[in-house]
């Protein structure tokens, strides 16, 4: 009885994780503009692979009597680096496309947006 419950939990986690991975990649393939395309793979695939790694940890612990924390390392690494890559890709898009950079709203202050003004002298001379 307990084996069936354990197998059911692992099966559900596997299916949910792979579903979210597929949804993230469908979003990457189908969304119309780049800024929208940055959302889908970074968030959804991180969640999907977290689910798959939890399923793998449960599988190793409950069915093979082997306690492994490698999966936690991979999950931690992906959680830390996915926002960094999304940020750098958005910045690359903003600085490469002049139409995107000019469509930003005005800041209402003396200095403009920091990422577009970097390298130029500030209005007060510093």
């Amino acid at each position: 009885m307990i084996e069936i419950l354990v197998e059911l939990v692992i099966t559900l986690l596997l299916l949910a994780g792979s579903f979210f991975l597929l949804v993230g990649s469908i979003g990457l393939a189908k969304l119309p503009s780049l800024v929208q395309r940055l959302h889908a793979p970074t968030k959804s695939t991180t969640l999907g692979i977290g689910g798959l790694l939890v399923a793998s940890m449960l599988h190793a612990w409950l069915l093979e009597d082997r306690f492994s924390v490698h999966e936690v390392l991979i999950t931690l690494f992906l959680f830390l680096t996915a926002p960094i890559t999304a940020h750098m890709l958005a910045k690359a898009r903003l600085l490469r496309s002049r139409a995107e950079a000019e469509s930003l709203p005005p800041t209402g202050r003396q200095v403009g947006w920091a990422t577009l003004d970097a390298g130029e002298p500030r209005p007060d001379g510093t």
């Binding site: 994780g17 597929l22 990649s25 780049l34 395309r37 690494f77 690359a92």
Partner: protein, 89 residues
């Protein structure tokens, strides 16, 4: 039950890999292609995890961890090249 779920998970991850290849080929800008490469890396890690569960207690997680690290570093290097024209200044 777990074998059927592993097969479905592997098929779903393979389909996700093909969709990423489509975006890699089609993406009108270079940023699209770099994003597709990064997502390809994460999906490849998922495939390694599923295969490790299916083939018994062999340790493939070091391969997955190394792929994660290389994927991240290569994405950051591509972005730096796009922004500055040079990786090590």
């Amino acid at each position: 039950m777990i074998d059927a779920a592993l097969l479905i998970a592997a098929l779903a991850v393979a389909l996700a890999l093909l969709l990423n290849l489509y975006r890699l080929a089609k993406g009108p800008d270079m940023v699209d292609r770099v994003l597709a490469l990064d997502t390809l890396t994460v999906n490849a890690i998922a495939l390694v995890v599923v295969i490790d569960m299916a083939l018994g207690p062999q340790t493939y997680f070091e391969a997955a961890l190394i792929m994660a690290m290389f994927g991240f570093v290569s994405t950051v290097a591509f972005c730096k090249f796009m922004l500055r024209g040079d990786i090590i200044e």
